[in-house]
């Protein structure tokens, strides 16, 4: 699904954060990216989303080279990014509205979509309901709690029926109970619909709960990917089990190790 080949990318004075970096993710897999802040987690996500352009190498998604946002990729950011002047209903409909605006041109929207106002409305209603925010659809983002806004942002993305979901720290601004609830919602999508997802997080527990594969990035320049296989995906209720706790400390060690390596350079 996602193929990163010999990627090179850096921010001018800070030097490269990726050099000759390759990783590939299969369809239907749930991945998380974790690492110390400034290690390039969000950068990698934005590169895959087509919002940044690699300095070298290539990124392809679904067999196509990425050089601009891909219509079938969904993106959810930490700060929901809802339009403050539009109601929740209109916000959730926004992506479909944009597809109508351009028509099925294959560039801004998939070339094979059907544009049907009635079906669109049903889809919006379905996702509002699925994320439990139907009763809020006439409200404006400012009237909602953070958790509700994030639900709306997720609904807005899923309405577009993406084949891949990218999320950047989607739940880090939320209180623990709401965060866990939304993590379960995401687990459900993965289990029931086989949604391919890639989530950036700085929270070790979240990395374990949302990723069957965990990519650990290091400070400085990333060359070889460090990938942890994890079968504890979705086991948030077992987070006090020794197995879960061990996995977390293993990750913590890996992240700290990555930091030390940087210190020794």
């Amino acid at each position: 699904m996602i193929k990163v080949t010999n990627l090179r990318f850096g921010y001018g004075e800070r030097g490269d954060i990726f050099d000759d970096f390759s990783v590939s993710m299969k369809k239907g897999e749930a991945w998380t990216i974790i690492g110390p802040s400034g290690c390039g987690k969000t950068t990698l996500l934005f590169l895959i989303a087509g919002l940044n352009t690699p300095a070298g190498g290539m990124i392809s998604v679904g067999g196509q080279k990425i050089h601009r946002p891909r219509p079938r990729t969904g993106l959810v950011l930490q700060d929901h990014g809802l339009l403050p002047w539009a109601t929740i209903f209109d916000n959730v409909r926004l992506g479909l509205e944009i597809r109508h605006f351009y028509g099925p041109d294959g560039k801004h929207s998939p070339a094979d979509i059907e544009l049907d106002q009635k079906r669109d409305r049903e889809r919006v209603a379905y996702w509002l309901d699925r994320l439990n925010i139907s009763n809020l659809q006439e409200m404006y983002p400012a009237q909602l709690s953070r958790g509700q806004r994030q639900r709306a942002a997720i609904a807005r993305t899923l309405v577009m029926e993406p084949d891949m979901l990218l999320m950047d720290e989607p739940f880090s601004a939320l209180d623990a109970p709401i965060r866990e609830e939304l993590q379960k919602v995401m687990n459900g999508f993965h289990r029931e619909e086989g949604l391919t997802s890639l989530t950036v997080t700085h929270d070790i527990e979240e990395a374990v709960v949302l990723g069957e594969k965990i990519l650990v990035l290091q400070q400085g320049c990333n060359v070889r990917p460090l990938i942890v296989d994890n079968h504890l995906l979705g086991e948030i209720d077992r987070k006090s089990d020794p197995e879960f706790v061990n996995r977390c400390s293993e990750l913590r060690r890996l992240i700290a190790g990555a930091g030390e390596r940087e210190g020794g350079r």
Binding site: P69, G74, L77, D79, G81, L83, W85, Y102, H108
Partner: protein, 250 residues
């Protein structure tokens, strides 16, 4: 959140101003301050005649100026707000020009453009231009990058971004800027209309009535100009209420 003005509070304000006017005219008791009882009926009658034409001429000038100013200022404000590099170059200039009372350029504009309707409209447009420019620029600069990125990720290119983000984001700002600057616009109009024109409320008040001591008629002109300001203010306000519903949430 902004505070809503209601119809009732506006009516209350009108009643109060007429009461104060009446009291003041009784207290002063001189021809320069006639009672509203005398002026208001005269105003109603005159508005269907000559005064109405003066009123229309003034309205047309203000509206033309508003239109010209918006057409030039809004796109430039958007550009400055979204292109920080351009803004860094130009903003010192704007910061200096913004507080200068533009009316002082009246003679310059008259000499350069002649004392025509065009020069009057230009003068008012210049004043409103800077108000809109600054507000739209700040509004556009305040659009968080995250919002723009997430709308881009929904497939929006430049045209869709303009339609779904920049336009709705700056429209309420343009309206607010217009609403607060419309008072200044009418004031400048009053001065600009005093020279070499034959229609316009400023001309009517100063040349046709004040200078020939027709005080009650002069007050109908003053009422006309007041009404113009109030009407413009509230029409813009009512559009604001429609466009910026999210700003008026209880």
């Amino acid at each position: 959140m902004k505070k809503k003005t209601t119809l009732l509070s506006t009516l209350g304000g009108c009643v109060m101003i007429f009461c104060l006017w009446q009291l003041l005219s009784l207290a002063v008791n001189r021809p320069i301050l006639p009672s509203p009882v005398q002026v208001v009926p005269l105003f109603v009658v005159n508005m269907t005649g000559e005064l109405g034409l003066h009123f229309l001429a003034s309205t047309a000038r203000v509206l033309a100026a508003v239109l010209v100013a918006t057409v030039f200022a809004a796109p430039l404000g958007l550009a400055l707000g979204q292109l920080p590099r351009l803004d860094r170059v130009i903003s010192p200039l704007i910061a200096i020009i913004y507080p200068i009372p533009k009316i002082i350029f009246l003679p310059v504009i008259y000499v350069l453009m002649g004392i025509t309707d065009l020069s009057k409209i230009t003068l008012i447009a210049i004043i409103i231009f800077f108000q809109i420019l600054v507000v739209v620029r700040d509004e556009a600069a305040g659009l968080r990058q995250e919002l723009i990125l997430s709308v881009k990720s929904l497939g929006a290119g430049r045209r869709a971004l303009f339609k779904y983000v920049y336009l709705p984001a700056s429209l309420p700002a343009v309206l607010t800027a217009l609403r607060v600057s419309v008072g200044t616009a009418v004031a400048v109009l009053f001065i600009a209309e005093q020279s070499l024109t034959s229609y316009g409320l400023g001309y009517y008040i100063v040349i046709e009535t004040y200078q020939v001591l027709l005080y009650p008629e002069m007050y109908t002109g003053i009422m006309g100009m007041g009404l113009l300001g109030v009407l413009l203010y509230f029409s813009i306000y009512s559009i604001e209420l429609k466009v910026g519903k999210h700003l008026f949430i209880e």
